[in-house]
């Protein structure tokens, strides 16, 4: 195939790829055509051709930038938000409260922070999910760049009797970590901290917030599988998971002090591997989560 045909073919491919939205592939073909034109002394109207091609490449770059700079999570219509909430409430058949939490978490994951905030604020009334909802209220405020409001919210809770002292301490440590990472110098009210909690605080701050954990099962009915559980509560290197009764068989072989290798930790900023140990395991005997299991895992290395 001669250079002329080659150039024609490359341009045809480039245009098709561009039309398909395959922008980097289109760019490669345009660049290859550009090189061929530049290096072939026999091509007539070279300058005109090169100028035309430069124009095309320029347009392609504009399009590429538009795609790359486009919002990763724009605010959606309330109809679309309703749909997200409905479709991603996986436990709707089992527990309305759990489904409401899942729906709110999905809204937050899809970047619909304003709406998620409203949902989490409502969920705080529910004792079972109070702490998780409160943490997510703070997260949503922070995602909306309103660290100030997040701090005010914490202070409002500190004055109320809605949370236990331990819960408030968890929220305070979490908030102060975030504020510090954002360069905001604000000290939050400490409510009834136990002496050992202050000592532990330094340790806790070293752990980033983990949203879910993947456990490799090396025995039992799920042998060879990696099961993922959401972290319901985290205090430093101790993660508390609620495992629904339907998944109970997956963890039935786990006992206190069992070493867990190949753990995968998922946090909003990173995914990393590590190991841990089963610190506690118990069946929930009453309340809406009756029959589910509470599993505590202590992270030993990451």
């Amino acid at each position: 195939m001669g250079d002329k045909e080659n150039i024609k073919r490359l341009l045809q491919e480039a245009e098709l790829y561009q039309g398909q939205g395959l922008l980097s592939e289109a760019r490669l073909k345009y660049d290859a055509a550009l090189d061929l034109i530049k290096n072939n002394p026999r091509i007539k109207n070279k300058e005109k051709l090169l100028a035309g091609l430069a124009k095309k490449i320029n347009m392609l770059e504009v399009n590429t930038q538009k795609v790359e700079m486009g919002p990763s999570s724009p605010e959606l219509s309330s109809r679309a938000q309703d749909l997200i909430q409905k479709l991603f409430s996986f436990s709707k058949e089992e527990s309305e409260e759990e489904a409401a939490l899942e729906g709110a978490l999905a809204l937050a994951k899809f970047g619909q922070f304003e709406r998620a905030l409203a949902e989490f604020n409502q969920l705080i009334a529910n004792e079972t999910h109070r702490l998780v909802a409160a943490k997510n209220v703070l997260r949503c405020h922070i995602a909306l760049d309103s660290e100030e409001l997040a701090g005010d919210k914490y202070e409002e809770w500190a004055k109320s009797d809605m949370f236990t002292h331990d819960q408030l301490e968890t929220l305070r440590v979490f908030m102060e970590q975030v504020l510090e990472s954002k360069g905001v110098d604000r000290k939050l009210t400490v409510v009834g901290v136990k002496a050992e909690a202050v000592v532990e605080e330094k340790k806790e701050e070293e752990f980033i917030d983990i949203s879910s954990i993947g456990i490799y099962l090396d025995s039992g009915p799920g042998k060879g599988k990696v099961v993922e559980f959401d972290v319901n509560f985290q205090s430093g290197n101790l993660l508390s998971l609620i495992v629904s009764k339907k998944d109970g068989t997956m963890i039935e072989h786990l006992a206190i002090d069992n070493q867990l290798e190949d753990l995968q930790f998922y946090s909003p900023i990173a995914i990393f591997n590590g190991s841990g140990v089963v610190a506690a395991k118990s069946e929930i005997k009453s309340g809406p989560k009756q029959g589910d299991y509470c599993l505590d895992i202590k992270i030993t290395s990451t």
Partner: protein, 204 residues
Amino acid sequence: MAIFNLKKREIECKIVYYGPGRGGKTTNLEYIFKTFRKQITGEMVSINTEGDRTLFFDFLPMGLGKIKGCEIKVQLYTVPGQVRYSSTRKLVLRGVDGIVFVADSLEVRREKNMLSLKDLQSNLKEYGLNIFKVPLVLQYNKRDLGEQDIPVMSIEQMDRDMNRQLKVPSFPGSALKGDGVGVALKECMMLTLKSLQKELKWAQ
């Protein structure tokens, strides 16, 4: 995981269209929406961004009617193919019952196909699912571009690249023209229902 409402004798299952970005997942759903009107039970919802790229997911609800005394509802989803949306892709995959993997036949997308299939495998693994066991079909999309002298891979090469170990049903297709869309969906639905029957024994 499908929802089986024993009282209403109703099963709601989830089929996800997975694959590399710009491979034709949304076009598959659009064709289904246009063509299978009788089975469509609601509007198709697409959440797009700049340049018509799927931002979060597309959603299309279908009803297959009664099969062995059970009302079968199917929810079709697409995932965003772009690499940067990996967390939403994973969320959409949660609770999946069957998968149509839409691979791009263009030669220049060979590596992207394989990376996407690997991404599918690792996301399934995180939900405790095995790619070798989950109901899965492959669709080799954009076959029509070969007629326009654009370099496309041969079916044999795509099978070697992606299906050598999986050995799942594969279909050539052109979602734009509708070729191979219905057949891939039907096969995936059949495999999904068979798998659910094994698990839920709803047809007894």
